[in-house]
Symmetry: C2
Subunit: 231 residues, 2 copies
C-alpha cells in the first residue's frame, strides 16, 4: 500500500506517520506545507520524522498565498491567544480553509502516484475550534475529491485519530516509540515552547494525562483550566 501522509512536524502527525508506518508493506510519501506559519520551526521537525522513517518528503512552498490568509494569528499580525486550548478565543488561530488546501494537494499527489489513501492528523481535541478537523468535513471532502477524480485512487482521506484526544494519541505514540523530542507544537516562533498558547497547553495536558514529562524545553509548564485567566 502506498500512502500520502501530511505531516506538520507536530506530535499528532508524527504519531500518525509512525502509526501508518506500522502497517504491513506500506510506503509513505510525506508532504509538509510552508504557508508562512510563524512556527516554521515545525517544518524542521517534519524533515527529521520523514528522514527517520525513510519516506520521500516534500516541503511545499505555499508562501505565495500567505498574504491571502488574513486574520489568523498563525500567519498574520494578530496576537497569539493564550490559555485553555478549547476557548472561543483560540478561533484566532484558524487559518482559512488550510486543511482543504493541504488535502487537495495531497490528493493530487495521490492520484499521480496511485496512492491508496491520503492521511492527515485531525483529532477530537481540534473539533471545538477547527471546523476543518471534524468528521463530517473529512467525509464530505473525501467524497467531493473522489467525485472529481477519474480513476479509483486514492480511495479516500483517512484521519485515524479523528475520535482520539491528544492524550490518547500520545499513548499510542509512546507504544510506537515516536521521538517526541523531534516534534514541535508551540504556535509561537520562539527558541523554547512558550507553554501559554492553546497548542502548548493541549500538549502539556496530554503529557500530564500520561504521567510523563514532555522532552521539549518550555518557558512555563503550568496547566491552565477552562475559563481560567492566563497569569
Amino acid at each position: 500500500m502506498h500512502a500520502i501522509t501530511i505531516i506538520s512536524g507536530g506530535m499528532d502527525s508524527a504519531t500518525l506517520a509512525y502509526h501508518v508506518n506500522s502497517f504491513k508493506n506500506c510506503t509513505q510519501h510525506f508532504l509538509s506545507f510552508n504557508y508562512g506559519q510563524k512556527h516554521g520551526k515545525e517544518l524542521e521537525c517534519a524533515k527529521k520524522i520523514a528522514a527517520t522513517l525513510k519516506g520521500q518528503h516534500d516541503v511545499i512552498d505555499l508562501t505565495s498565498i500567505t498574504h491571502l490568509l488574513k486574520g489568523s494569528a498563525l500567519t498574520d499580525s494578530v496576537s497569539m491567544p493564550e490559555g485553555y486550548y478549547a476557548e472561543e478565543t483560540m478561533r484566532l488561530t484558524v487559518v482559512p480553509n488550510r486543511n482543504a488546501i493541504m488535502l487537495s494537494i495531497a490528493w493530487a499527489t495521490g492520484i499521480a502516484e496511485k496512492a491508496a489513501y491520503v492521511f492527515y492528523g485531525a483529532h477530537a481535541g481540534d473539533h471545538f475550534i477547527y471546523e476543518d478537523c471534524r468528521p463530517e468535513f473529512v467525509e464530505k471532502l473525501s467524497s467531493a475529491f473522489s467525485k472529481g477524480t477519474h480513476g479509483p485512487f486514492p480511495y479516500d482521506i483517512r484521519a485515524p485519530f479523528l475520535h482520539h484526544d491528544k492524550a490518547q494519541i500520545l499513548r499510542e505514540g509512546i507504544k510506537l516509540k515516536v521521538p517526541y523530542e523531534d516534534t514541535w507544537t508551540c504556535y509561537q516562533g520562539g527558541e523554547v515552547s512558550c507553554g501559554k498558547c492553546g497548542s502548548c497547553q493541549e500538549r502539556l495536558w496530554a503529557f500530564s494525562e500520561n504521567g510523563i514529562e514532555d522532552p521539549l524545553p518550555y518557558a512555563t509548564r503550568k496547566l491552565i483550566k477552562k475559563g481560567e485567566q492566563v497569569g
Copy 2:
C-alpha cells in the same frame, strides 16, 4: 457583493469575469494560478482581463507542486493530444485535482475577505473529460468547504456556465463585449495557437457556431470531427 473569481486567461473565465462584472455593486478579486502549465501565456491574458475590469489580481505561484502533478500533458513531458476535444485521448490533459486545489485557495481568500461567492468557469463542454468540472463535483466541494468554515462566507461556489457549452458562452461574451483577442486557449506554448489541440478545436468550433472569426492567429483553423484522425 464581493466575489473571488478564478481566471485562467482563457475565453470561458474571461467571459465569466465580464458576466460577474455586469452584476450590480459587485467587486471582484481575481485569482490565477501558475502551476507550471506549458501554456503560461494564458497568465498574461488573465492580467489584461483583470486590469481592464479594474479588479485586484493575484497570480499565485504553485510551481512548488508542479513536480507532483505527474502524468498530465499540461505539466509533464507527455505529448499534447490533438483532435476533437471530447475524445478519450484528451484525458491526458487532466491535471490531478487541479480545480479542487485552485478552489480551496479561492475559498480561503473568500473567508478572509468575507466574499459572498467563489466563481469559476467550468462548463458543459468539459464534462466528458474533466470530472472536476461536473455539477456534482462543484456541489459536493462547495458543501465540504462550507462544512469546514466557521462563518457564513463564502455562501458557495458558483459556476454559472456549468450547463452552457463553449458556443453559448461565446454568445454571452459577445453581448458583454469581452475582448477575446486578450484571451489564450491553446494548450501548446507556441507563438500562435496550434489549432490542433483539443482546447483550440473547441474554441474554433465555438467561433464557427457563432459565425464569427476568432481574432487570434492560428497555425491551422481546420475543424476536426469526432472520431476523425488528425491529418
